[in-house]
Symmetry: C2
Subunit: 221 residues, 2 copies
């Protein structure tokens, strides 16, 4: 059963809506914060006073402003929170539709649910909270499709490094040196060329510029 909830969401509007949705579910013990660091502090404090939260609802991306923060995003917050309180349920509420991100939340960070800011998000939130309170997980259908679609190509750490370097203006022939400095293997020029070719073939692209544009669109870089 979910009684005590913490909301970590920097958008005031979204934060308000989350509170309202929870109240409509009969959950009244709600704290809300606008920064990740505040969220972690609240979790620590409530744990020490034996009033642990049952659920954390968090956004993924938090805007930077004057206040310098240790934790800058939802993913890091989830990890830090679980270190403090491993049994904490986590529901992510974000606008992101990146398959890679959502897959990480599901598989690696072991979040209990994901609701995307979109049409009917309020209804879906209630549904998700309901399911989580019954020890179920909530990752919507369309994500499975997205993940499949994305898996037309798995962008490895290597791929992303190479494309990022290109997008930063690094000459192709200079990429091996940069890769070595970052300790990424392989680092040979031929490996870079081969991998770029593979990616371009996969997507039926002809030029690196296309690859950069695609990765920008997909939020991969």
């Amino acid at each position: 059963m979910i009684k005590k909830v913490l909301i970590a969401e920097d958008q005031e509007c979204a934060n308000m809506s989350l509170q309202k949705a929870l109240e409509e579910l009969g959950i009244t013990d709600i704290d809300y914060v606008y920064y990740c660091d505040d969220a972690l502090a609240s979790i620590q404090r409530s744990k020490h006073s034996n009033e642990s939260y049952d659920l954390l609802i968090t956004d993924l991306s938090f805007e930077e402003d004057g206040r310098l923060q240790k934790i800058t995003g939802g993913k890091e917050l989830i990890q830090a929170a679980r270190q403090v309180q491993p049994d904490l349920r986590v529901l992510v509420f974000s606008a992101s539709r990146e398959a890679a991100t959502i897959e990480t939340l599901d598989k690696t960070l072991d979040a209990d649910g994901y609701v995307r800011k979109a049409r009917n998000d309020a209804k879906e939130l209630k549904e998700a909270i309901d399911k989580i309170s019954k020890n179920q997980r909530h990752f919507p259908r369309y994500i499975i499709d997205l993940v499949k679609q994305k898996n037309a190509h798995d962008f490895t750490r290597f791929d992303i490094a190479v494309i990022s370097l290109l997008a930063q203006g690094t000459l192709q022939k200079d990429i091996p040196a940069h890769l070595q400095k970052s300790g990424i293997k392989p680092s040979g020029l031929s490996s870079v060329e081969k991998r770029l070719n593979l990616m371009k073939e996969t997507f039926d692209f002809s030029k690196n510029e296309q690859l950069v544009a695609y990765c920008k669109d997909m939020g991969i870089i």
Copy 2:
């Protein structure tokens, strides 16, 4: 004075928060829709029954779903709405931070204000509505900086065409043919090369990939 408001926002949560913010300002005559087409229909209907809206608050991007829509985004909605009711005030509420987009809203579409979904967006919304009701406009400070920054280089129709072609995988040497087909002048390969060089020099870039990445980030292509 603003009495009657229409909200066009597909995210249920954001829509709810907008309603709440308006109510806190003492505005009670609120309609809300989740689709652009519905918004336009409401505007037409209310105008014909002499109960025109004073203000339209709209998002920019609307999610596609099963319902096929004629108007697919906030920009088109603004244009269509102004055709029906030229004196309609428009406040845009979106997560976009692209300078190009916001500049278009200000200069071309002549929106009355822009509030970004971010920290303190609820407060800013109220401020914006207050200003608009006093016949002022509300475009936040940081946008001016963004626009300035962007205007380090004026991207011409020619520039955008060339960079777009690159991002689509067109070989540089094939670009002249495409430009001619689109009736864009100049179209010589040397002109393309020269212009690319100028742009790269302006931004201190070394490669086309960098230019593509930048234009993607800025929403130029």
